[in-house]
């Protein structure tokens, strides 16, 4: 009975006392090896399939990657010019310059076994500079944010988790909304979109940067359905995340903390070019 009481106390403390976070991260050191261990079979399977792949497949893949790289490089050439132009225009308008976000590569080492939660575990912790509230991206767009850290791992809540919300705007016209996770990997939902709002199927939703947690301008989702029901106060807008949430193994942690982002943006208007 003492144990039950102890457990109850611990639950209460963990829920209501922020300093339990530190205790938790120290305790987690003990189970971190187990988390690594659980990842080993998948890793070995990956390595094996790398070993066993035949030459022609590799050559084909290599060729495909090369052509992809060429296409991307062409796009980057323009990006440099566009960035410079953007900075010039913003300076003309005496606006604040946007900072290039620095990122850190992280690898997925685990998925939360609880099917109600969309959480993954990354192999970067406080030792590497991860922090709670950090935005997480993958090749396709925003995947989520860090909600807990230990010394060597961090837990990420994906944008499709039923408890997650992310401020977005429509790339086409700047209409702002909040996208909520629904607990399925395929879909997120825009909340409180008036019937008169200009939302169309196929619109790209990007982070609006409001709220200060996610950096501005990263793709989040593509609108897949707009349902305007006259009987309901708001229209139902569903979207499909652009990040490959249940597939990508390599993720990016945005290094610039939200506070610094604002700060740099605030002081940069007079400073010279980097």
């Amino acid at each position: 009975m003492v144990l039950v009481l102890l457990a109850l106390l611990l639950i209460l403390a963990d829920l209501n006392w922020p300093r339990m976070r530190d205790a938790r991260s120290y305790l987690s050191l003990a189970v971190t090896p187990l988390q690594w261990l659980a990842d080993v079979p998948g890793r070995v399977a990956d390595d094996l399939s790398d070993l066993l792949v035949d030459r022609s497949t590799l050559l084909k893949e290599n060729e495909q990657l090369k052509s992809e790289q060429l296409l991307l490089e062409r796009r980057v050439q323009q990006v440099a010019a566009l960035t410079a132009e953007n900075i010039r225009l913003r300076e003309l308008l005496e606006g604040k310059r946007r900072v290039q976000d620095e990122v850190m590569l992280a690898e997925l080492i685990g998925v939360n076994p609880d099917p109600f939660l969309h959480q993954v575990l990354l192999n970067r912790g406080t030792e590497d500079g991860a922090f709670v509230g950090q935005a997480v991206l993958d090749a396709g767009g925003v995947s989520g944010q860090v909600i807990a850290t230990t010394h060597y791992t961090s837990r990420v809540m994906l944008i499709t988790d039923a408890r997650h919300a992310i401020p977005v705007e429509i790339n086409r016209n700047g209409f702002r909304a909040i996208a909520l996770g629904k607990g399925t990997y395929e879909e997120i939902e825009l909340e409180h979109v008036p019937d008169t709002a200009d939302v169309r199927e196929g619109d790209l939703l990007i982070t609006s940067g409001l709220g200060g947690r996610f950096p501005r301008g990263y793709p989040v989702a593509v609108v897949t359905g707009v349902l305007r029901d006259p009987g309901k106060p708001f229209s139902m807008v569903t979207a499909k995340p652009t990040a490959r949430l249940d597939k990508s193994r390599h993720l990016l942690l945005v290094k610039t903390p939200p506070s610094q982002r604002a700060e740099v943006a605030g002081t940069v208007s007079g400073a010279g070019d980097e």
Binding site: L3, V4, I11
Partner: protein, 162 residues
């Protein structure tokens, strides 16, 4: 108890560690809901076989480890595992006499209680659950029980853990 070897503890500890790792192993989406609850099953076995060595304390400790692994509020699994360890202790003498399939039924009930406590407390903690699919693991665990039982028993006999 008198002939308990020092190695016996390591064996018990080891099986629990394996259970913890298994509970973290990634599964394909289709099986995600039916993930067997390894740690409760292993706990039930040891409490059943060696009630004088594995009890509430051990249940609590490994529950805490499970919480750390799952990222659930600390103490949640500790609570539910202590609870089923207690229930198993209460009925372990009867449970030992049961044939395997009857034991499996009891395991289903016990793991079910574990699941209910865990998810109920999670809901109180603010992680809302919107389907009863979380009871599926208790069925899967029951189906796996005969194999787990036989495997753990042979481990116990090979290493003469008493």
């Amino acid at each position: 108890m008198s002939e308990a070897r020092p190695g016996g503890f390591l064996i018990i500890f080891g099986t629990f560690l394996v259970g913890l790792v298994l509970s973290q192993l990634p599964l394909p989406d289709t099986f995600e809901w039916g993930r067997p609850e390894w740690v409760p099953m292993i706990l039930i076995y040891w409490v059943l076989a060696l009630p004088h060595r594995v009890g509430l304390g051990m249940a609590w400790m490994f529950g805490l480890a499970l919480d750390l692994l799952k990222g659930s509020p600390l103490g949640l699994n500790a609570l539910s595992l202590t609870l089923i360890a207690f229930l198993t202790l209460l009925i372990h003498q009867r449970l030992r006499m049961f044939p395997l399939w009857k034991q499996a039924l009891m395991v289903m009930v016990l793991v079910g209680i574990n699941q209910l406590t865990f998810h109920w407390m999670q809901a109180i903690a603010g992680n809302a659950r919107d389907s009863f699919m979380f009871m599926l693991p208790s069925l899967v665990s029951a189906l796996l029980w005969p194999w787990v039982f036989v495997l753990l028993r042979s481990i116990r006999r090979t290493f003469r853990v008493t």
